[in-house]
């Protein structure tokens, strides 16, 4: 796996370029965020991804479910209460983690970012994971990273999702 190759030896510039746009997530966390979308169907779910930035890749250590404050049209909009975000940031800091991304679902809609997603995305270098939920069942999950130096230049680009089996994580810890 590319990510492990990177860890095992000093990165060359080429390797850095290869891992620049990647989300690394444990299988149980990946399944948890997809399940969240099924549970809130036909409404959108949303949550935060906590972890660390590793040479441009975002490595998820925890997922945190959030409430959707867009009760006026929860079927196609989501918003996380900033006060809840503040609590999550503090929770992350206590564990020496950072917010590395967010996730939400698109009920009966493709797992592709919308113009609304881009307009409302402000966490540069963070991942935005979108799961399409079709008739209540999670289908495609895609991840996009918000790149650019400022609001004026921001863009969402597709990134690879590297899903780790638990055994792989355990072996890394030893």
């Amino acid at each position: 796996m590319l990510f492990w190759t990177y860890l095992a030896s000093p990165p060359s510039e080429g390797r850095i370029a290869q891992v620049m746009v990647m989300l690394v997530i444990k299988k149980q966390d990946y399944e948890a965020l997809r399940k969240h979308g099924e549970e809130t169907y036909p409404f959108e779910c949303c949550g935060a991804l906590l972890g660390r930035f590793d040479s441009g890749a975002r490595v998820v250590e925890q997922t945190v479910r959030c409430g959707n404050t867009r009760t006026d049209r929860p079927q196609d909009r989501y918003q996380i209460d900033p006060k809840e975000l503040l609590s999550i940031e503090r929770h992350a800091a206590r564990q020496k983690l950072e917010i590395v991304g967010f996730y939400h679902s698109h009920p009966d809609h493709p797992a592709q970012w919308s113009q609304t997603d881009l307009a409302e995305a402000h966490w540069l270098m963070c991942s935005y994971v979108i799961t399409s939920v079709e008739k209540g069942a999670a289908s495609r999950t895609n991840s996009f990273v918000l790149l650019g130096q400022s609001e004026d230049e921001k863009r969402l680009e597709t990134e690879e999702i590297s899903i780790l089996e638990v055994t792989e994580v355990q072996s890394l810890c030893h």
Binding site: I80, E98, P107, P110, Q112, S114, Q115, H122
Partner: protein, 104 residues
Amino acid sequence: MSLNISIPSPLRSYTGGEDVIEVSGKTVGLALESLVEKFPPLRKQLYTEDGHLRSFLNVYLNEEDIRYLQKAETAVVAGDTISIVPSIAGGGAAKTLRWSSVQR
């Protein structure tokens, strides 16, 4: 008087990776000004060209959103913490996309 400003992860590249910066100032606005004086490239990230705090940034003084206090004029005391929290929102309705044209 000194107080801390908590920096969100997307802005830490402008503060040398630091998540908390000690600043000075008698109001929230002056404390933020102290922050951008320390890290000038942050100004463009926090403020519009006409000097207004960007609308998607939520600023908290301890536990309170400054929009519900006196905004930038809100007085601070030593030991307070100011937190900058970019908003997070979005949603589907990409009506230009067709199910048949995208990978599911």
